[in-house]
């Protein structure tokens, strides 16, 4: 009899020991940070937001850590159902309601959700362009202007975009870059050097509408230009080593 009681006690003790850590984990030790999350944001808060909305059945997309349109509509539906002002912003009140209504834990998210997600797995890209477009342009920019200041690199990317939009040039980024004789870096193979992060940033800036050149279609390095014709173009400005013209 005593033995049995002893056994019961040990069992209870073991059970308690086992329960305590589980209970500790299940408490939401981490939750949203203080920021107001809005469309376009990237990061762990967005993963939490998407996971909670997914838990409640509002969000049906992938938990990728990027606050896009899908997340936006899901959040607005949630706000509407829970009687919150429908603004598509995850502010303090909305987050509070979300935390109450749903279960999520950052540290165990990997184990519990079907699609294990703790890292951001996507990125924003300028509308209408793919990452590979950016990569290809970054290659061209790096090959053409890697020694130039940052705005000189944005400028080269802007010229590529201006050409795509112009009637006298091919209508695609690849068409413009690979037009024979258009860029020296393509002709001598320097386009295949690995571009650095700076040239990628420059390309994204240019795709987002930054044009330091003032609508230039051509540029040349006055020290090395062999064509006489290029000097006849009306010049807009000089950036770094390059002169940009119409």
């Amino acid at each position: 009899m005593k033995r049995i009681r002893l056994r019961c006690k040990t069992l209870l003790l073991i059970a308690m020991l086992a329960v305590v850590p589980i209970a500790m984990i299940e408490q939401p030790t981490e939750a949203f940070s203080n920021q107001v999350i809005q469309r376009g944001a990237v990061g762990e808060d967005v993963i939490e937001l998407q996971s909670r909305l997914q838990y409640l059945g509002y969000y049906k997309g992938k938990v990728d850590g990027v606050f896009g349109w899908g997340t936006y509509w899901a959040l607005r539906n949630f706000q509407e159902k829970f009687g919150l002002p429908v603004d598509g912003l995850a502010g303090a009140k909305t987050k509070q309601k979300l935390v109450k209504a749903s279960k999520y834990n950052r540290s165990t998210a990997t184990k519990k959700t079907k699609s294990p997600q703790t890292k951001v797995t996507a990125a924003n890209v300028p509308n209408g362009y793919s990452k590979n477009d950016i990569q290809l342009m970054a290659n061209a920019v790096h090959g053409e202007a890697r020694g130039e200041p940052y705005i000189g690199q944005v400028a080269v990317a802007a010229v590529i975009i201006n050409r795509v939009e112009n009637a006298s040039f091919p209508n695609s980024i690849s068409g413009v870059i690979f037009e024979p004789g258009a860029f020296t870096a393509v002709a001598d193979g320097q386009i295949w050097l690995t571009p650095n992060e700076t040239s990628k940033k420059a390309v994204v800036d240019a795709l987002n509408g930054w044009d330091p050149t003032g609508d230039a279609l051509y540029y040349f390095n006055p020290a090395t230009a062999t064509s006489k014709w290029i000097w006849s173009r009306p010049q807009i400005k000089r950036i770094g080593k390059h002169i940009f013209c119409e």
């Binding site: 940033k201 044009d211 009306p234 010049q235």
Partner: protein, 445 residues
């Protein structure tokens, strides 16, 4: 004995080198021929497409039935695009061959516009018929010139690689039939009087009317420098350079550049001479860890815009790239979104400083607009939208249509499946002006 060995070794070396050289030569030739063939294909293809183009325009002229005219024009449009792609593959960038490509674009745009139109309701006007006739003649001229070049190329066995060499060295080759021939083509196109493509010619040029709406007094260099200093207060030990725009520029502006001697940070801002508005600004510096949310950064962006006298705007979109937030603002007048008045501001999420600004579109198009009065009701416009789209937001908006004109539209934002769309219905005639699929997220590979 030793002499015999040396002689044997040397002759083997000579033979080996010779063989190696021969291999190299063969490889080089193979590559040259390969490149040459690509050019030849593009050129012969171009002449073929021009032939076809001439032919098809001719056929469409003779057509009486409106129903068969649309497909014929669509065919012409398709051929121009193929011909353009061929031009893009020829080594012609250094030659002034732009006019031909421009003509192709214009034919393409003209035929596209007429092909998609409902020709039963809105048949070709006399003016448009005349345009088509003159296009027929012009494409015939180009076709003839190109045929001539093609004939010479085939007869004299001319090679495009030689053209490229001639262009690269800047020397006029003794026999540059191709260049001369193509220059003739270009001259032929230039000779065409400005074609009358009807009331709404190609859109791109319309947009470019400079900063004609700007108000205010001329500013001084010093004022421009102060503006940049105010935007980047933290940059240290700088060298300041101010330049004026070149003669080829349509607008007059100061370009102010500040480069730090300490860490290479560099800030550049172009400022209009009239009124002193920033046109664009980029501050390139080392970025720290993210400390601000996108939402907090937006307040900084808005403060910057207010400070620089940009008014009547609303936030359209916010996007985070790494540790920078990019905010897009559009004009807003009486609750109507003005898309042509677009502004972009980039804020560093590490310290909330402004690191980029682009306001060229706004400066070019912002002006006092008359009140907006839609010709049709919102409910009527809604009937023009695909019923499968679940509409979430509605509003009035001014946008640029395909011809580059400002039109008042009903803007409907809605979802279809997983995608979000923005649909613009003309508020005067109910036409569907544009449908945009909002897609700016891509999964990492």
């Amino acid at each position: 004995m030793l002499r015999g060995i040396i002689i044997a070794l040397l002759s083997i070396a000579v033979a080996g080198t010779g063989y190696w050289g021969y291999q190299e030569h063969r490889e080089k030739n193979a590559i040259l021929i390969n490149a040459e063939n690509t050019y030849q294909r593009a050129f012969h293809d171009l002449t073929f497409q021009m032939d076809l183009l001439h032919d098809k325009i001719g056929t469409s002229l003779a057509m009486n039935s409106r129903t068969s005219l649309s497909p014929a024009l669509a065919e012409v449009w398709r051929i121009t695009s193929e011909a353009q792609s061929d031009v893009g593959q020829l080594p012609l960038t250094l030659l002034p061959f732009n006019k031909t490509e421009e003509l192709l674009t214009n034919i393409g745009e003209f035929t596209y516009r007429t092909a998609v139109r409902d020709l039963d309701k809105n048949p070709l006007s006399d003016q448009e018929y005349k345009t088509l006739e003159s296009l027929y003649k012009q494409s015939g001229d180009i076709k003839r010139d190109l045929r001539q070049v093609q004939h010479l190329v085939l007869k004299n066995n001319l090679r495009w690689m030689d053209v490229e060499m001639a262009l690269a060295t800047g020397k006029e080759a003794a026999d540059n039939t191709i260049i001369d021939g193509l220059k003739t083509v270009e001259k032929t196109v230039e000779g065409f009087a400005e074609n009358d493509f009807g009331p709404a010619a190609f859109g791109m040029k319309k947009n470019n009317n400079g900063f004609k709406y700007l108000k205010g007094n001329q500013i001084t260099k010093e004022h421009a420098v102060t503006m940049l200093k105010k935007t980047v207060p933290n940059i240290k030990e700088t060298e300041i350079r101010v330049t004026k725009n070149g003669k080829g520029s349509e607008n007059s502006f100061f370009s102010v550049n500040m480069t730090s001697k300490v860490n290479g940070s560099e800030a550049t801002m172009d400022i209009t001479k009239k009124g002193g508005y920033p046109i664009w600004f980029i501050f390139s510096r080392e970025m720290g860890k993210q400390k601000l949310s996108l939402n907090e950064a937006e307040k900084k962006a808005l403060a910057f815009l207010r400070e620089n006298k940009f008014e009547d705007i609303e936030l359209l979109d916010s996007v985070q790239y790494d540790t920078a937030g990019t905010f897009t603002y559009v004009g807003n007048k009486e609750g109507v979104r003005i898309y042509p008045d677009t502004l972009k501001v980039k804020v560093g999420l590490d310290n909330g400083g402004i690191i980029g600004f682009s306001g060229e579109d706004y400066l070019k198009s912002h002006h006092q607009r008359a009140s907006f009065e839609p010709g049709i009701q919102e409910s009527e416009a809604l009937t023009k939208v695909n019923p499968n789209v679940a509409i979430k937001e509605k509003r009035l908006a001014v946008m640029l249509n395909k011809l580059g004109e400002e039109v008042l539209c009903y803007e409907f934002t809605g979802t279809l499946g997983k995608d979000t769309y923005r649909i613009f219905i003309n508020a005067n005639n109910g036409e569907e002006e544009q449908v945009d699929r909002m897609d700016n997220i891509e999964a990492n590979f």
